[in-house]
């Protein structure tokens, strides 16, 4: 399968890339890892006239922590996140999620920025970022702006990014001691999109009271979904079997899965409940 013809640009600075996006408007697409975009171009679901390859721009690939804020560069590959010692130590959720994203070869190309900017509710990082209450940094002609993750996803393949903006980094707070996180998705085989996926981050204080609960859901809604009622069910008290069951029930009620080859709506709601329960338990286990 061959894509429709396009003009290829490979800017060396963010400024040049933004100027090109500004000039070419809606006819341009950004090429990052390319493992969502190039398949769409080969199938001619997408036919951009201009392809702006940002892979040659230095300084967009990193994982760092400064003053209690963790920052990941947009061009950081999934494989780099999978093996980043810092994340492995503080955020086991990244090991969980990257291992389940596509396969090793795809993870060598795919980037965290692309995974989010694609705006696909079936992608896995969005739910994780909801659970971590991340902030997206978008850089455009007038500089950088911060977008809270809750205001980032708009609809099917739609995000808050404007046509002349580039997602340049993602940041989230380094949580206090007593925090645990976990992600799992149910998939039919390696490389499949989630039948359902659940990301959880929980903080318990010294008395065992839940002071933070973040729960994000993958591929069971038109957009990545925060399970707000589930979070509320856990907050401000010790986490018990009853409150976990309540959180699981709310998530299964509040999501909006559609029946497809991966299962019926009823089945997916049931799986959301199972996964919420398991991921809360796993996050708590890791928090201790």
């Amino acid at each position: 399968m061959i894509a429709q013809s396009f003009q290829y640009e490979s800017p060396r600075t963010i400024g040049d890339a933004i100027s090109m996006l500004d000039k070419y408007g809606e006819d341009a697409k950004i090429l990052s890892g390319g493992h969502s975009l190039i398949p769409m171009m080969k199938l001619r679901f997408a036919s951009p006239e201009y392809l702006i390859d940002i892979n040659g721009i230095p300084g967009l690939s990193y994982v760092k922590e400064e003053n209690g804020v963790v920052k990941i560069g947009a061009l950081t590959r999934e494989a780099e996140i999978e093996h980043a010692d810092y994340l492995r130590e503080h955020f086991p959720i990244f090991k969980d999620v990257t291992k389940l994203i596509a396969d090793p070869q795809v993870r060598n190309m795919g980037t965290i920025g692309g995974n989010l900017a694609h705006g696909d509710a079936a992608n896995d990082h969005p739910a994780v970022m909801l659970a971590l209450r991340a902030t997206i940094e978008a850089t455009g002609p007038s500089g950088a702006r911060k977008i809270p993750i809750d205001e980032f996803f708009f609809g099917f393949y739609q995000t808050a990014l404007q046509h002349n903006e580039i997602l340049t980094s993602i940041e989230f707070p380094l949580p206090p001691k007593g925090t645990g996180s976990a992600y799992h998705k149910l998939e039919r085989k390696v490389g499949d999109y989630a039948t359902a996926g659940v990301a959880v981050q929980i903080t318990l204080d010294d008395n065992g009271t839940c002071t933070y609960a973040g729960i994000g859901l993958t591929n069971v809604n038109a957009t990545p979904l925060r399970a707000e009622r589930s979070e509320q069910a856990l907050l401000g008290k010790p986490v018990t079997e009853a409150s976990i069951a309540e959180a699981a029930k709310y998530a299964s009620e509040d999501c909006n899965p559609s029946s497809d080859l991966r299962g019926s709506e009823e089945y997916k709601r049931a799986m959301v409940a199972v996964l919420v329960k398991r991921m809360i338990n796993k996050a708590i286990e890791r928090a201790r």
């Binding site: 290829y8 390319g34 190039i38 090793p104």
Partner: protein
């Protein structure tokens, strides 16, 4: 508008004029005539087109040739001198790691990076490691054994003589 790119393939530098939409796998097979890299699914699922780009295994059906500008590519043709086998090729031969052979170049290129990063992988690590490569005839047991053979040989460990498994 065509682009001029410079790529090093198996140690040889090539300057090529390519259309931006040319896929890397088509450049390798049709421009450079290196047909050991296969096209299976053409959708980045099967791994038959796996090559190394600057030492990292990637699926060349989902990368544009222009993206390889200034970079180094290794294909199955370059893993060992003509007429010789490297440890992975020998492992596949000794352990019946291939039947039809279609997936084999991709399996070997993927395993090359796997063993470079992790010289002594567990069976589980090998199975996760080749989870992006599909074989539709032998099943995977003998492929796993082939990779274990190469791992042992690379580390200078005596390899137990193994009866091929047909499961």
């Amino acid at each position: 508008m065509n682009k001029t790119i410079v790529v090093t393939v198996n140690g040889t530098s090539h300057t090529l004029e390519v259309e931006p939409r040319l896929l890397l796998v088509h450049m390798i097979r049709e421009v450079l005539n290196l047909t050991g890299t296969h096209i299976g699914c053409d959708t980045s699922s099967c791994g038959a087109c796996t090559i190394l780009l600057d030492g990292k295994s990637v699926k060349s059906c989902t990368i544009l040739a222009v993206q390889a500008n200034g970079r180094s590519i290794s294909t199955i043709e370059g893993v060992s001198p003509e007429g010789e086998f490297n440890s992975l090729q020998e492992g596949f031969k000794e352990n019946h790691g291939l039947h039809c052979g279609f997936c084999t170049p991709g399996m070997i290129m993927r395993s090359t990076e796997l063993l470079a990063n992790n010289p002594n992988p567990t069976e589980e690590e090998i199975r996760w490691g080749i989870s992006g490569n599909l074989c539709r005839c032998t099943g995977y047991n003998n492929i796993v054994k082939a990779i274990q053979y190469a791992s042992a040989k690379n580390r200078g460990v005596e390899t137990a003589s193994t009866e091929p498994q047909f499961v």
